[in-house]
């Protein structure tokens, strides 16, 4: 049995904040916002909406696309670090209830940020294969609007809200390959929430990503007996246009490393699966994905189209 990705859905709130409207506030130019930050608008959920509400919308979209899926879900895994209320009960249990899924379903949260989707794929794959499961859901929903300080120049222009739902199946379209994981825990204070507010040491996070993500990619390609030329598209966590472009130069993947979050922002663990939804993958057979951030941690993997 080989668990992989069968389908992905995304949800982005309709409400948007325009970064260009605050360029005077931050004393930055329009060029800086468009070409360095990259996000023109940021999607924002309603303050009344909880993490499980936006997660529900993503899952429901997946159920609408695949009618028989809902009754077959054997596990539901939610990646978030902004749980509903206190985090107890786990938000995946609350989501399970909102989706009215079968009680014969393993349900748990994964507490990871921007590296969460790639970690989540590996965890879900291992869990499902070990238990003989055929159908599972991996949900990402981490609305940073819950913790953003709107007066913090380092973060207010970056993060948007959104959620995704991935159908993991024993009859996949994309195989999940080997992974490369890592944690530089000596840098764990570079991204924190203190007194309910996000703090980010931008230079530390940038230096970490610029050094460690290319090394992770190189290790994984070597382990997979591939080169960057064998990869059709590189989907990096959408921290900002600046970090994506910096990394694509260091990885050697310029021209096949899209920046896709212009209209909704950095959605944390949702950023990679959102590109699986939005990017044209018709002629793509091999995808390299890499998430990096909170921890500070990284996870890189390769997805291969299943040959029919």
């Amino acid at each position: 049995m080989n668990i992989g990705i069968k389908s992905v859905s995304a949800y982005r709130p309709q409400n948007k904040v325009n970064n260009l409207d605050s360029k005077e506030k931050w004393n930055v130019s329009e060029d800086f916002i468009k070409n360095k930050i990259g996000n023109i608008t940021l999607a924002k959920k309603s303050p009344k909406e909880k993490t499980t509400d936006i997660a529900k919308f993503a899952a429901q979209d997946l159920f609408q696309k695949h009618e028989s899926l809902k009754d077959r879900v054997e596990c539901l895994i939610l990646v978030t670090q902004n749980p509903d209320d206190s985090g107890l009960p786990h938000s995946s249990a609350i989501l399970h209830h909102k989706l009215n899924l079968s009680e014969h379903c393993a349900v748990f949260d994964i507490s990871l940020g921007c590296s969460g989707y790639v970690h989540g794929l590996a965890i879900a794959k291992g869990f499902m294969e070990s238990q003989g499961f055929n159908d599972g859901l991996l949900i990402t929903a981490d609305p940073y609007s819950e913790v953003i300080d709107n007066d913090d120049r380092d973060t207010a222009l970056l993060f948007g809200d959104g959620a995704t739902a991935t159908w993991l199946s024993s009859s996949p379209i994309w195989e999940i390959g080997l992974c490369d994981f890592g944690t530089k825990s000596d840098l764990n204070k570079a991204l924190t929430v203190v007194d309910g507010r996000l703090n980010m040491k931008g230079r530390e996070v940038f230096n970490f990503a610029a050094k460690h993500v290319p090394m992770s990619v190189e290790r994984l390609l070597l382990k997979s007996k591939l080169t960057i030329k064998d990869i059709d598209i590189v989907l990096l966590h959408q921290g900002s246009r600046f970090i994506v472009e910096t990394l694509s130069k260091r990885i050697g993947s310029e021209g096949k490393t899209p920046f896709a979050s212009t209209n909704y922002g950095n959605t944390v663990s949702s950023s990679i699966p959102m590109m699986l939804v939005d990017c044209n993958l018709n002629d793509v057979n091999t995808i390299l994905i890499s998430g990096f951030g909170v921890g500070l941690s990284w996870a890189t993997s390769i997805l291969k189209r299943v040959e029919i």
């Binding site: 360095k36 940038f206 610029a210 050094k211």
Partner: protein
């Protein structure tokens, strides 16, 4: 590290920037190099010189001349 090496890093990092006209004593900010590109320039220098430039020293390394002085003082 000499001026030409630092200038070459600036050219490599700052897309579309003509570093030929960047004076050695001109601050990057005055030359139109933003804080993110400045951060990237310093990362290249850290990697080339195998040093770490702490956050409190970033503003000391804000021009070609100041970077040269900083590295010289670090090596002394």
């Amino acid at each position: 590290m000499d001026s030409d090496e630092i200038r070459s890093i600036v050219t490599q990092v700052v897309i579309g920037f003509d570093s030929k006209n960047l004076k050695n004593n001109q601050s990057f900010l005055d030359a139109g190099i933003d804080s993110l590109d400045h951060m990237n320039i310093l990362l290249f220098i850290e990697e080339k010189m195998d040093i770490e430039i702490p956050d409190e020293d970033v503003e000391k390394c804000n021009s070609i001349d100041n970077i040269k002085t900083y590295i010289k003082n670090r090596n002394a």
